[in-house]
Amino acid sequence: MSDQDNITAQTADAVAPPPPRKRGVRDALRALAKAPLSAKFGLVVIVFYVFVAVFAPVLTPFGESEIVAAEYELWGTEVEHTDAEGRTQTVTLMFGTDNLGRDMLTRLLYGARNTIGIAFVTTCIAFLLGGVGGILAATVGGWTDQILSRIVDILMAIPALIFALLLLTIFGTSVLSLVLVIAVLDSTRVFRLARAVSLNVVVMDFVEAARLRGEGLSWITLREILPNIMPPLVAEFGLRFCFVFLTIASLSFLGLGLQPPTADWGSMVRDNATLITYGDITPLLPAGAIALLTVGVNFVVDWFLHKTSGLRDEQ
């Protein structure tokens, strides 16, 4: 690990191996402290978003779709609000209200909750489908590989938006079908990636050793290959995760988005997009929320890749 002397796999007993690393919280914190500024920034963003997503109901006195004032109130408008226990207080609407008079900030907060939740579940399913398929194709090879790869070819050859339109119209736009359709569309790319990186691992001697031992497919894929292809998959996860927002926004362009009055950032951009043509920056709020998360996630992913690749850059 500290051996700079040889570019090949040569290492020697003469080099004292580093002491076994403790993978505890302290170690993680230590690594974090040494992370570049961009990664720290990204982590702060992610933690903040998760916090907001989890505690959305606590952070705002209003309900997700509660109408609190007239529509399009300006930023910083103050309103009287009576909560469930009948107490009345004055609340400042930091970002004003939307086209139905709902608090913009509340919508943003709940948007984080819904959008991130759905994006996360969707991406997980996409990775489950694509990842398992890709690893299987690479591990088993032969006809399995051919069939899976051709299926993916076909899925990718059909324009995604049309495909989504077909499926969602046939199966309806419940959250479940929305999640599944986006997941299937996304899984094709995951499949290609998982297959490609697995192919590099499958030829490794330890996989051959496991095969010669007589191990079953599940051991080889789950225990031998999967742990070794995690870094690129995690990196892809970051990007795909962010793109789900955009897919939802595109689908809402075709009227296939989430069920109202659920707040999601993609639809919020769509709903308020026309305002930007008059220089009103309201739609920048949800768009910016997506952008910030994308940048944050990718900073962390870049750092993670850098850590796991072992590639050392010049100082």
Binding site: I7, P36, S38, R150, D153, I154, M156, A157, I158, P159, A160, L161, I162, L165, L166, L167, T169, I170, C242, F245, L246, A249, S250, F253, L254, G266, V269, R270, A273, T274, I276, T277, G279, P283, A287, I290, A291, L293, T294, V295, N298, D302, L311, R312, D313
Partner: protein, 318 residues
């Protein structure tokens, strides 16, 4: 060259198979959509009587496999058939729109590919510097904005406020090239912002990936300058992944631009296809889907051929 010919032949055969299956899926999919062409065409004003008459006239009363076989027979004879909705020749309907779609994709590609490569190479050269991070943040932000939103912002600045470009890109068959390019510039810029990040990141990553290679070290031990190392030593070996991503994005420029077409009123193929899906005009959907699928397949094949051509190991076997 022999193996390229073989690869092309193989890919063509596979491509045809994929095309065939895609057309089957599209036919079945559109047919499975609730409602049919007649209902969609007549909308709110449909009555049972008129629907029946309509179905009879355009042959929707026949079973799907029969209609599909008819369509396939036509295709094999080189006849795309007619649109069920307005009886126009599909080849005619698609012709000019296909040209427009390719023109826009081409224009966007001409801008975005060199830009992405240049940005990526510079980012690799000055990696981890201010420039690298700056480009990273800007491109990541640009891909996290929905397309229509980017389009609106560009229109606001470049069209409404400064009046540099028209906000409509309603080109026609007789629009002269220069005017066509001028009118299509805003949509092309929008698409550029959408695709450039992906290509730029891949360019940067594939180059940096190679920087640990012994031959890169060798080049610097031969006293080569940093820029020469990146351009002459790393880049030629990084083509395969870059070309792959470029091609994937080109396919997107052709296939996935419905939203931009709608916002800029650009008469491209995407809108025709969405319209036709909505109207359940199966022959038109089939024709569009086949063209898109073929584009995707051909582009993918091109990527494979390019990665052979740019890789001496594959081009000149031992």
């Amino acid at each position: 060259m022999h193996n390229i010919v073989k690869l092309v032949a193989q890919r063509m055969a596979l491509g045809l198979l994929v095309l065939f299956i895609v057309s089957l899926i599209i036919a079945a999919g559109v047919d499975a959509l609730p409602g049919d062409l007649c209902q969609e065409m007549q909308g709110q004003s449909a009555t049972a009587e008129t629907l029946e008459a309509c179905r009879k006239e355009i042959g929707l009363d026949k079973a799907l496999p029969l209609r599909y076989a008819d369509w396939l027979g036509g295709i094999l004879k080189g006849d795309f058939g007619v649109s069920l909705a307005n009886g126009r020749q599909i080849s005619e309907l698609i012709g000019s729109r296909l040209g427009n779609t390719f023109f826009l994709a081409g224009l966007a590609a001409i801008i975005s590919v060199p830009l992405a490569l240049a940005l990526g190479i510079l980012a690799a050269l000055y990696r981890n510097g201010i420039y690298d991070r700056g480009v990273n943040v800007v491109t990541l932000s640009s891909i996290s904005f929905p397309e229509f939103f980017i389009a609106y912002i560009l229109i606001l600045w470049l069209s409404v406020n400064w009046g540099w470009f028209p906000s409509l890109s309603n080109v026609g068959g007789d629009t002269p090239l220069a005017e066509r390019a001028y009118k299509s510039l805003l949509p092309a810029l929008t698409l550029t912002l959408v695709v450039v990040a992906h290509m730029m990141r891949m360019t940067r990553a594939s180059i940096i990936n190679l920087l640990a290679s012994p031959y890169i070290e060798m080049a610097s031990l031969k006293g080569m300058t940093k820029s020469r190392i990146i351009l002459k030593h790393a880049l030629p070996n990084a083509w395969a992944p870059i070309v792959n991503v470029v091609v994937l994005n080109l396919a997107y420029l052709i296939v996935g631009v419905v939203v931009v077409e709608v916002v800029f009123v650009y008469p491209g193929l995407g809108e025709l296809m969405v319209d036709s899906v909505r109207k359940r005009d199966i022959p038109v959907v089939q024709a569009c889907a086949s063209i898109f699928a073929a584009t995707y397949i051909i582009l993918n094949m091109t990527a494979d051929i390019l990665s052979i051509v740019t890789n001496p190991r594959l081009l000149h076997p031992k």
